[in-house]
Amino acid sequence: MYAQLVDTGAKRLKTLEEMSPEERAFQEKIDAEIKIEPKNWMPEGYRRTLIRQISQHAHSEIVGMLPEKNWLTRAPNFKRKLQLLAKIQDEGGHGLYLYSAMETLGADRDEEVAKLHSGEVKYSSIFNYPALSWADMGTIGWLVDGAAIVNQVVLQRTSYGPYSRAMIRICKEESFHQRQGYQILLHMMQNGTDEQKAMVQDSINRFWWPAMMMFGPHDSDSPNSAQSMAWKIKRMSNDDLRQRFIDQTVPQLEFLGCTAPDPELKWNETRGHYDFGEIDWTEFYDVVKGNGPCNRDRLRTRRKAIEEGTWVREAASAYAAKQKQKNAAA
């Protein structure tokens, strides 16, 4: 997902008996679905894991603006240009809501952004794939935002109050993103030329598997999941989320009149779910490690923006200090 591999520092769950009285009270609160608020006592691991998860989520929103920006200046008409700009701008806003939630845990935004820039903290692997055609604006909105929404809807019930509230706001605002993307594709499939239809299918072929990877490794390969689930930082397992996403996406794919690049994709009557093929995990870990087609570009762009903006931010601070002095003297 937007935070794919979050280390909780705990390989095994503590039982209630093993916990200190504070830890036990904390866990009982979580079990009773009572939200944890900024000044409440919390285990250090909970705080650290949350900072990690929320910052990765925020970084993903910010880096996620870049593939779409690649086509913003080439959007084909007024309607699409305005929609895309509003969507990209929402993503910036969502990054900021999340950083704001993260800062209630005592983390500093600049320090966390520096960890992103140094490669210490990751963002979602999906944004390391290039946006090569206009149809990608549709596919990103439909598949990528669609996958993100599946996760975020569940996270509205996360145990940490500020994170949960940010998620509620984000989900409300994001409802138009996926529709915006799907409509781009649908319009091309229903009103487009053969060339445009081929553009849509090509785009789906390229983004299908990377979108499936967004939910992270199999549950059996997610050593940190148990602790995150117990803390209710995570509320559904990677595999369950992925299945939910596929089940809701395939009918939409069929309505488009397109296919998925997965020969094993088919409805399983007994399970009541779609069966699907195995993800290429080597590719997943390669991209996470920094070897995706765009990892270097994405980070370079973000680093450059913040570095080249230093003199601007310093000027604003210097001006504010001068004004303060002037007002004090007056």
């Binding site: 080439r74 900021l96 000027a315």
Partner: protein, 259 residues
């Protein structure tokens, strides 16, 4: 030239300047000096492109109703298929983003002009023009407030920002004079009470800009310096062609396709 031809031309100028500046601001996405600034630049760009759409939609209506040469073309056709020589935006808005000071200098000088222009057009004898102007004026009032604040912050910030801001003003200044040069179109519409009086705009603009630059501890260049011109005849700088090549890529690469 009759009044409809003049109005069509006038609307193209209004729409094109908004469109091109909006496009330039889009280039900042992902590159702004602070995340909060990403949001602000995005909002201004959304406002400007929205205004461009309103002006060009009206232009298309006027062309069709009066059976002008451009009859039958939509706002999208006008924005996404007209070539450089047919574009009527001010030279100032097509200038490259440069650094943040360059962008803010361009924005501020344009915003002051835009603000007074839309104030005047809010009282236009053409109700359609007045309505678009009145709506745009609310947005531009905010754009101006924001760019003014940045001119002050950068002008009276650090030594480095002061130097960069002064360079930016000096560099863009030569493109500011064109905003006040009236031609047949302007004169015809001003007399009809539809368009704005550019002489009056000039003195309002000058007073505002001089006052703000002084407050920002910046030197205000003279209005009598040599000023570039040509956009009203579609004579642009070399910057515009590349911008249009990018902006118009899809409609030109796939003629007749619907998106």
């Amino acid at each position: 030239m009759n009044q409809n031809q003049a109005l069509f031309e006038y609307l193209l100028r209004l729409g094109d300047s908004d469109m091109i500046l909006g496009q330039r601001l889009c280039e900042w996405v992902g590159n702004a000096p602070a995340l909060e600034e990403e949001m602000a630049i995005g909002n201004v760009a959304l406002d400007l492109i929205g205004q461009a759409r309103s002006w060009l939609t009206l232009a298309a209506e006027v062309a069709s109703a009066a059976e002008l040469e451009a009859a039958g073309r939509s706002a999208d056709d006008l924005a996404f298929t007209r070539d450089e020589r047919a574009y009527r935006n001010l030279l100032i808005v097509e200038q490259a983003n440069g650094n943040f000071a360059d962008t803010m200098a361009r924005q501020y000088l344009f915003d002051v002009w835009h603000y007074h222009l839309l104030s005047a057009l809010s009282g236009s004898a053409d109700e359609r023009v007045a309505a678009i102007a009145a709506k745009g004026l609310k947005e531009v009032t905010y754009h101006l407030r924001r760019s003014s604040a940045w001119i002050k912050r950068l002008g009276d910030g650090t030594e480095e920002s002061h130097a960069r801001m002064q360079d930016a003003i000096d560099e863009i200044w030569t493109y500011s004079g064109e905003m006040f040069i009236a031609d047949e179109v302007d004169n015809l519409l001003a007399v009809a009470g539809i368009g704005a009086d550019l002489n009056r705009l000039r003195s309002l603009w000058q007073a505002d800009v001089q006052a703000l630059l002084a407050e920002a501890t910046l030197n205000c260049p003279s209005m009598d310096e040599y000023m570039q011109r040509g956009s009203k005849q579609g004579l642009h700088t070399e910057q515009l062609g590349f911008l249009l090549a990018e902006m118009q890529f899809l409609p030109r690469a796939y003629p007749g396709a619907s998106w």
